[in-house]
């Protein structure tokens, strides 16, 4: 096939995404190196990221608590072929269940040796303990947690 005739078009938009009071409180906590969670008054599930309401019970959440910055790595994947504008591969992304939380927080995971793709999965078995590593400059966003690393 000959190369199709195309015209380069560029979209460049900057959004200021509203965080609301619930996520705003969480992000403010990150600046202070605190991971804040909230809970449903009916089913008692604890949410990180926090939720303004429990989607299951459909009631407002309450009861804020600070969770330890450690948890279990429930799953992770190594991205060998990334996306345009994304991090340089290889890198790992995982689902972390922080101690005391009923939900998964997605984040970058480090501490893996990427030299042999066939061995990566066994380096951090299901349920491995990981801890948050804080960014030096924190501005109230999820990347105030720089990444999670094996906790020992």
């Amino acid at each position: 096939m000959s190369s199709p005739l195309t015209q380069t078009v560029h979209w460049d938009l900057t959004y200021d995404v509203h965080l609301g009071s619930t996520w705003g409180r969480f992000m403010q906590g990150l600046r202070e190196q605190k991971i804040l969670a909230n809970s449903c008054p009916e089913c008692s599930r604890t949410f990180v990221p926090p939720q303004a309401y429990c989607e299951s019970c459909f009631v407002r959440t309450e009861q804020w608590t600070e969770l330890p910055a450690e948890g279990d790595l429930e799953v992770f994947t190594v991205v060998w072929q990334g996306f345009t504008g994304g991090p340089k591969p290889p890198y790992a992304v995982g689902g972390i269940r922080l101690a005391g939380a009923d939900t998964l927080l997605m984040h970058v995971v480090t501490g893996l040796d990427f030299s042999d793709p066939s061995t990566v999965r066994d380096q951090l078995p299901h349920g491995s303990r990981v801890r948050a590593v804080w960014a030096e400059d924190r501005t109230g966003q999820i990347l105030d947690i720089s990444h999670f690393e094996p906790a020992g």
């Binding site: 199709p4 959004y15 995404v17 799953v75 060998w80 997605m106």
Partner: protein, 377 residues
């Protein structure tokens, strides 16, 4: 959420698909026009006969804000009822069928188009762009900044499934090789074959544990279906199939983890409704073939179980090769319907097929599943 669709009998009288290519040298509306006009020709209908057209496309891959402004007329929607869904075309089929079943219109068209406005030299380049769009579709405060994409979700779901010990990478390589090989001899191959399990295992790692040949073969194109009321269908040429059941369901956010541990849950909810509509009591015994939309071999088993079709012979599961052979983005739902109807025409003219489609923009996170029961008549 489950969307209960009560279609009644809605007849399929026209079905068409453009050639599926790695990249189309065409404007979106040209592809839509080609698919719609060919589908109308099959049943000798004209644009003026169409009461409603429903288009499935998405602005971000289309490279245009409100890209439906370009495609509405090509979907036979000019000066008639027309709307666009940013969803897989399976949802467009459900919406069009609902309008016919409700008696709102006698003839409705559903059309899906997928031709991401990006030029790349190979599949890896096309995937990098599609993954960038996928990242944009994730929640912007928590998931997008940490690099979540459809492929990372599929990789994690596959890793979680491997951890269970009930499946192996070798099983998935066999499944993928068989699908690609089947599809290579079909009408719409996106990958050439034959391919062996060893070929699959030797392909490049993309998002562990998934390898290149385990992921969908990205192709582009458009597909359209013309639906008619029973009274109108009786006076028309064209296809002889009827939709007897449709169900739809939507999955949950990242943090619940259902997308990881219960990836077939949305499909199961959609299937329950579709089967109830179609009075399908024992799917394993009553369904001849299924066109499945499994974006990875790790989802093959969970989706089949959700459809209660795990007992179906392997050659009756996506005889077309499914997404491993060719995946045309949001046009996929109608292409799966086309493949199922063609299989019935060729093998069991009065048989019953199940058509399963999902959107893949955020993987199994917030997944929309559509299940359609179609019968030959």
């Amino acid at each position: 959420m489950t969307n209960r669709v009560r279609p009644g009998p809605v007849h399929v009288v026209g079905l068409s698909c453009t050639p599926l290519l790695a990249e189309q040298d065409a404007v979106l509306d040209e592809l839509v026009f080609d698919a719609v006009s060919a589908a109308l020709s099959e049943c000798a209908l004209r644009k003026s006969d169409v009461g409603l057209s429903v288009l499935a496309s998405m602005d971000v891959p289309d490279g245009r804000s409100i890209s439906s402004g370009l495609t509405t007329a090509a979907a036979a929607g000019y000066l008639s009822d027309s709307y666009r869904l940013e969803a897989d075309s399976g949802s467009a089929v459900a919406a069009a069928a609902q309008a016919v079943a409700a008696g709102d219109v006698e003839i409705a068209i559903a059309v899906g188009v997928h031709n991401p406005e990006h030029h790349a030299e190979d599949d890896a380049g096309r995937r990098r762009f599609l993954e960038q769009l996928s990242n944009l579709a994730f929640e912007p405060a928590f998931d997008r900044p940490v690099g979540m994409t459809a492929q990372t979700v599929y990789g994690m779901q596959a890793a979680h499934a491997l951890h269970s010990g009930e499946v192996s990478l070798d099983d998935w390589a066999e499944l993928s090789a068989a699908a690609i090989t089947r599809g290579a001899t079909g009408r719409r191959p996106g990958r050439s074959g034959p391919v062996t399990a060893a070929d699959v295992l030797a392909s490049a790692p993309v998002v562990s544990p998934l390898l290149d040949l385990m992921l969908p073969a990205p192709v582009t194109g458009a597909a359209a279906v013309v639906l008619a009321s029973p009274a109108r269908a009786a006076r028309l040429l064209g296809r002889s199939a009827v939709l007897t059941g449709i169900g739809q369901a939507t999955g949950d956010h990242t943090w619940t983890g259902d997308w990881l541990t219960r990836p077939g849950a949305t499909t199961a909810r959609a299937a329950a409704d579709a089967y109830q509509n179609a009075e399908l009591v024992d799917p394993g015994a009553e369904v001849a073939v299924v066109e499945l939309s499994a974006p990875t071999p790790a989802l093959h088993g969970p989706y089949l179980a959700a459809l209660q079709l795990q007992g179906l012979a392997p050659e009756r599961v996506s005889p077309s090769g499914g997404l491993a052979s060719a995946h045309a983005g949001l046009a996929n739902g109608i292409i799966r319907l086309l493949e199922a109807v063609e299989w019935l025409e060729q093998h069991q003219p009065r048989g019953r097929a199940v058509v399963h489609s999902v959107d893949t923009i955020t993987g199994t996170v917030s997944e929309e599943s559509t299940v359609v029961v179609v019968e030959g008549i």
